[in-house]
């Protein structure tokens, strides 16, 4: 179901960490809220409002169940980026009397890094914890980085680039011990991983619908209400909705969609984790057997099942994507980013600059079939071999030349 013929070319979608197809069951659940139950969920006085409000309440419960919290602890937003901004700016402003130090990692998404950098320009301080070469932050470095004036620790649950899953529970325990608010960016991974905010000591959790087979434009933030009660200074104000933390009329159809997506994730996360892991293992195996000099970026086992970020040495990423046209993926290569800067996550892993340009991110998902990955592997190998024939670096490697010894002519 993930393939589509366009101009006669078969398309296989393997970019699920960028966006996921909205599950048809989710779309079905949302539709009545556009044209039948279209009321404002805060219209207290009539049936249109009540039915919208009921639907939102149900969705709140569905999302809460997914992460192990109470429905009243869920705030709805416009997406993951807003959620991360709300968590970071919200804590920073609310607790600025207590301190102005934030601890985070070098592999966060821009939705976390940019707000933190903006706070640094306003007089806050931040510590960016390094990762090992599999992308893991050591809980011990976190413990050492927390100071008297630390008010927030913000960690990504699982990397959208390489899939590595952090030791969140261990970090949560440290934060509890030190009395610091712990925000986890869980925009990626809720469709296959089990997060329990109490067991993991999480105080704020950002979520995004469109990465878990829900619609775009909606997300949610869990904000702990007890032990301790966490409060956030809102970013969006005018009306008082969502316990004063995120005002504005609710996106009812979007929220209904997110709730349904959460329900499906809750029911299928275990079986999906196993199924997708099987497919990825096979896919990875075919690529590794078919080509020499390929390197997987990310933790070998503690990694999202759909994640395969792989460097094809001596082949530039964008050219490989072009060569396997029809296989829809992303690359860590500078050529593909708007700023011509290679991925900060790959840099943090210690991947050499030359290898960074050769990386491709495949992200398998709910609608990926075995046939998809068989075809994709075949296309990838074909394109890779063609590009190796075309590569002067591969030619030098084959001649036994040590590329690190060469003095390159460049500006």
């Amino acid at each position: 179901m993930a393939t589509m013929d366009v101009d006669g070319k078969r398309l296989v979608y393997l970019d699920n960490f960028a966006a996921t197809r909205t599950d048809p069951l989710v779309v079905e659940a949302m539709l009545p809220y556009f044209t039948e139950h279209f009321g404002n969920a805060h219209s207290r006085s009539h049936a249109y409002g009540w039915s919208a409000e009921n639907a939102v309440d149900t969705a709140r419960e569905q999302v809460a169940k997914l992460v192990g919290c109470k429905a009243g602890e869920i705030i709805f937003t416009s997406g993951g980026t807003e959620g991360c901004n709300l968590a970071i700016h919200g804590v920073a402003k609310m607790y600025e009397e207590r301190g102005k130090h934030i601890v985070t990692s070098a592999v966060e998404h821009r939705a976390v890094l940019d707000p933190i950098r903006s706070l640094e320009r306003q007089g806050y301080e931040a510590s960016y914890l390094p990762v090992d070469n599999t992308g893991l932050v050591s809980p011990e470095t976190l413990r050492e980085a927390i100071r008297e004036d630390t008010i927030l620790v913000s960690m990504i649950f699982a990397s959208n680039e390489i899939g590595t899953i952090q030791d969140v529970a261990a970090m949560g325990a440290i934060c509890k011990d030190k009395g610091v608010i712990f925000h986890v960016d869980a925009c990626v991974g809720l469709d296959t991983e089990t997060i329990d905010v109490d067991a993991m000591g999480i105080d704020i959790l950002s979520m995004s619908a469109h990465k878990m087979y829900g619609p775009g434009g909606v997300g949610a933030v869990y904000v702990r209400r007890r032990r301790p009660r966490v409060r956030l200074t809102p970013l969006v104000i005018g009306g008082g909705q969502e316990r004063g933390m995120r005002h504005g009329t609710l996106n009812v159809p979007g929220i209904v969609g997110m709730g349904k997506a959460a329900e499906i994730a809750f029911e299928t996360r275990e079986s999906e984790k196993a199924r997708i892991l099987n497919l990825r293992t096979k896919f990875e195996g075919v690529l590794k057997e078919g080509l020499e000099e390929v390197y997987v970026n990310g933790h070998p086992t503690q990694r999202l099942p759909g994640a395969l970020n792989i460097s094809f040495n001596y082949i530039e990423g964008e050219s490989l994507m072009m060569g396997m046209a029809g296989i829809c993926v992303s690359s860590g290569s500078a050529c593909t980013s708007a700023t011509l800067e290679p991925s900060h996550v790959m840099r943090a892993l210690g991947v050499g600059e030359d290898l960074v340009h050769t990386s491709i991110r495949f992200s398998l998902g709910r609608f990926t079939t075995e046939d998809d990955i068989d075809y994709a592997a075949e296309e990838c190998l074909r394109a890779a071999r063609k590009l190796r024939d075309m590569s002067p670096l591969w030619e030098m490697f084959k001649e036994g030349i040590d590329l690190s010894e060469i003095e390159w002519k460049h500006d």
Partner: protein
């Protein structure tokens, strides 16, 4: 980012992809760029009596880089050394319809041509 048709054409059907004998006196080899930059072009020319009779390229780089170097070899074949030296990156940009963010690929191709010529000429002055 949608790729231009000409860029795709050069990618699918590269002209003159391959290698010449870099040890030969009549061959000039230019290697420009760096792996850390994501662009390396090797461009070689075979020269007979001041005219380029054959040219080959190999490129590590994006589709636009591959197309730029492929086009460069296509153009220089049949040119004199001086004519090849006069090729400007802007000619490549125009022919391929490269967007601003890819202009540097054409610059590298121009440098590759000049580097190959320089290599050939330095071999001539030694003999």
């Amino acid at each position: 980012m949608a790729y231009g048709d000409k860029v795709i054409d050069h990618f699918e059907n590269p002209r003159n992809m391959g290698s010449l004998d870099k040890g030969s006196d009549t061959v000039g080899t230019g290697i420009v760029g760096a792996p850390e930059c994501g662009d390396v072009m090797k461009l070689q020319i075979q020269v007979e009596e001041d005219r380029i009779v054959d040219a080959k390229f190999k490129t590590f780089g994006c589709g636009s880089a591959i197309a730029s170097s492929s086009l460069a070899t296509e153009w220089v074949k049949g040119m004199t050394i001086d004519e090849a030296h006069a090729l400007k990156n802007t000619d490549i940009v125009e022919e391929l319809g490269l967007p601003p963010v890819k202009i540097h690929c054409s610059v590298l191709a121009e440098e590759a041509i000049k580097s190959a010529i320089e290599d050939y000429q330095s071999k001539q002055s030694k003999s």
